[in-house]
């Protein structure tokens, strides 16, 4: 092959790939509004994104899988621990991670900044990204899918798995933001646990857990019955 032909091969390969790349870039711009619910991209969401950047969150956490692998991915943080959970973590990391072997710095967020951040993470949670990450699919499933996941489990165990294990663990499985609940039944009965979930501080004035407003009345009862047996 002559050098001139080699140069033509270089040019043809580069241009072919470039044309394909730019065509798909154009297509991405056409579809991105629908895929990311751009209509819900409010000023508060943008303010939250600015907080996210100002506080350097992405330098420990990943989001959409990008960033740093020192702390959990935040794409589905909203589904995993909810608005109140996010606020508790960012405003009081020293308490939440007191027993964790990896700490989070207290970044000095104001109440308003924390609220904006929640709006940003709520919007992010709804991005249609082909169901990534796999470990958080259980938090974003429809109620029907969740019921199927819980097949073979008691209603309480299934509800616990779907709604509590982001923070709590049993038998070493689950999250470590809240305490392990292996022996919680020795402390509280079913009704108390159900009430605790709705309004933690009414049972334990020092509780750090935010009220779990997304858990239905029926699920709270079921979870209470399941956890009361853990002693």
């Amino acid at each position: 092959m002559s050098n001139r032909n080699a140069f033509l091969v270089f040019l043809a390969g580069t241009l072919a790939s470039l044309v394909l790349f730019l065509a798909l870039t154009w297509d991405t711009h056409q579809q991105v509004a629908a895929l990311t619910n751009a209509d819900k991209l409010s000023e508060q969401v943008v303010a939250g994104k600015r907080v996210f950047e100002k506080k350097n969150c992405n330098e420990c956490h990943t989001i959409l899988g990008f960033g740093v692998y020192y702390a959990p991915d935040l794409t589905r943080a909203y589904a995993r621990i909810g608005a109140e959970g996010i606020k508790t973590v960012v405003l009081h990391p020293e308490t939440v991670f007191a027993n964790s072997f990896r700490k989070m710095p207290n970044l000095g967020l104001t109440e308003q900044e924390a609220t904006d951040l929640v709006a940003f993470l709520e919007w992010t949670n709804n991005i249609d990204n082909h169901d990534w990450p796999p470990q958080d699919r259980k938090y974003t499933q429809s109620p029907d899918q969740r019921r199927l996941q819980g097949a073979g489990l008691s209603p309480g165990a299934a509800a616990f798995k779907a709604q509590c294990m982001g923070c709590h663990s049993i038998g070493g499985q689950g999250g470590s933001i809240g305490p392990a609940l292996d022996q919680v039944g020795a402390k509280y009965d079913a009704a108390t646990i159900a009430a605790y979930i709705a309004a933690p501080t009414t049972i334990n004035p020092n509780a750090k857990m935010p009220p779990q407003t997304n858990v239905s009345e029926a699920d709270r009862q079921a979870i209470g019955e399941f956890l009361a047996k853990q002693k």
Partner: protein, 466 residues
């Protein structure tokens, strides 16, 4: 002959210029680019040790509050980018006069540009410590500093462009200049604030991916082609032909291959197909480059006198193949990437690929140019190769340890669906292994760098040659 034997090259310094070694006086600006780059590389490694400690052990809340992991991580990656870019620029200033057969257009501009970049780097590092950041990984430096970078880059392109325009035009210079312009243009896409997170990451990769799998490949392939011609004596026409074919393959696979970063960001499904197919082919140009490098040596049957340069050149070819080619291929298909994305598998790939493809490439050029710039024709090769092996094997060990941690994370967190910290607890041992190898990377780097800046001239009758 008289001149070489009278050269005294002790301590850190440029020594006396030997016109047979360094034909153009302006090539000497490269010296300071290389020395600053080496110093920044050492600093990057030191900060890296702190990051490994943060992964391997519990850092108390009181320390975390004042010295957050994220702040030091930003320093680690920014030092990487800065030293690699300074290395490319120094390498460019060294090779352009020899290729274009004329002095650099303006030496003061070359120094001014170095000051602009180093000043930006220092301001950025100090700024990070005070929370002055854009908060976007790798592209953290604040907008104000972005503009200084742009000005520095424009000075550089102007200076190199004018030199090339007025001098001999070669394929290597064309490819190098093309790569540098492409590199500078892409940087602009990382500067604005994007309201939509998906679009933000989409253009973030225009900088990061199209740099490392596009523009930088052009720059480094040109630098490597220059070194190959010089140390093997292979015909320029042959090297240039391979340069076109390899860079053509790099861009053909690399441009559309950007799609492998768009699988899970909220972009259309077509990227899964295009990203998967094109990035699976990204290993081809690297294989071509390795075959070409070995082939060049074997077919010619030349005895390569510059043993240190050749060790680093083969090291970068093989490191590029392992780190970028094999490790990249291993998790680039969407079916696998769905589980490995955003885990320590990526960190493992990142370390092996940057070291193999870019750190060693820069050091190859440094080892070609530095002894010449210091007026040294023969020197002890042992410390240089010892440093190479300690550093390279330690990086391999570190990459494998991160890879094992990544596979554990993938299985425990992504497949079994257990919590992030549950997985991290199982991975912690491997972060201690990372720290162990990290220490050896620093040791190996210090050995080879110290020798590079202080190696003394040996007498003619001595057995070893450069």
């Amino acid at each position: 002959m008289q001149q070489t034997t009278t050269v005294r090259a002790g301590g850190i310094g440029m020594g006396v210029r030997d016109e047979r070694l360094v034909p153009y006086a302006s090539q000497r600006v490269a010296y300071w680019y290389f020395v600053v780059a080496l110093a920044l590389f050492v600093l990057q490694l030191v900060v890296g040790l702190w990051l490994a400690i943060s992964y391997a052990f519990t850092i108390p809340q009181s320390i975390v509050d004042v010295l957050p992991f994220g702040m030091t991580r930003a320093m680690h990656t920014n030092l990487l980018v800065l030293w690699l870019l300074l290395g490319f620029m120094g390498g460019t200033y060294y090779l352009v006069p020899e290729e274009a057969e004329r002095e650099i257009y303006s030496v003061p501009l070359a120094y001014l540009q170095l000051v602009a970049f180093v000043g930006t780097g220092v301001a950025a590092l100090v700024g990070f410590a005070f929370g002055w950041t854009q908060g976007r990984p790798i592209l953290e430096i604040p907008t104000l500093l972005d503009f200084v970078v742009v000005i520095g880059a424009l000075i550089f392109l102007f200076n190199v462009g004018m030199t090339v325009l007025k001098g001999r035009k070669t394929a290597i210079l064309g490819m190098l200049l093309g790569g540098l312009v492409f590199l500078a243009v892409l940087y602009v896409f990382g500067m604005p604030f994007y309201r939509n997170l998906t679009i933000d990451w989409f253009y973030w990769w225009w900088v990061v991916h199209l740099w490392v799998e596009g523009a930088w490949e052009l720059v480094t392939a040109s630098i490597l082609a220059f070194v190959l011609i010089k140390v093997t004596g292979v015909d320029r026409k042959v090297v240039e032909k391979y340069l076109y074919i390899e860079t053509g393959l790099f861009l053909f696979t690399g441009l559309a291959g950007t799609g492998h970063h768009y699988y899970w960001i909220g972009a259309p499904r077509a990227w899964l197909w295009v990203g998967g197919i094109f990035s699976a082919m990204e290993v081809l140009p690297i294989i071509a480059m390795v075959v070409d490098t070995f082939h060049t040596q074997r077919q010619r049957g030349v005895v390569i006198k510059e043993k240190v340069v050749w060790t680093f050149a083969l090291g970068t070819a093989i490191g590029h193949l392992i780190g970028a080619g094999v490790w990249g291929f291993a998790h680039t298909l969407p079916q696998i990437n769905y589980y490995t994305h955003g885990s320590q598998v990526t960190a493992s790939h990142g370390h092996l690929a940057f070291f193999g493809a870019y750190a060693l490439l820069n050091l190859t050029m440094f080892w070609y140019a530095m002894p010449r710039l210091r007026g040294v024709t023969r020197f002890k090769t042992y410390p240089a190769t010892l440093g190479f092996w300690v550093m390279s094997l330690a990086v391999l060990g570190l990459g494998v340890a991160m890879g094992i941690a990544g596979v554990l994370q993938t299985y425990i967190e992504r497949v079994l669906g257990q919590g992030f910290m549950t997985a991290q607890a199982q991975m912690q041992f491997w972060f201690k292994v990372v720290l162990f190898f990290g220490v050896f990377i620093l040791v190996g780097a210090l050995i080879t760098f110290w020798h590079m800046v202080t190696a003394k001239q040996m007498r003619e009758e001595a057995q070893e040659s450069p």
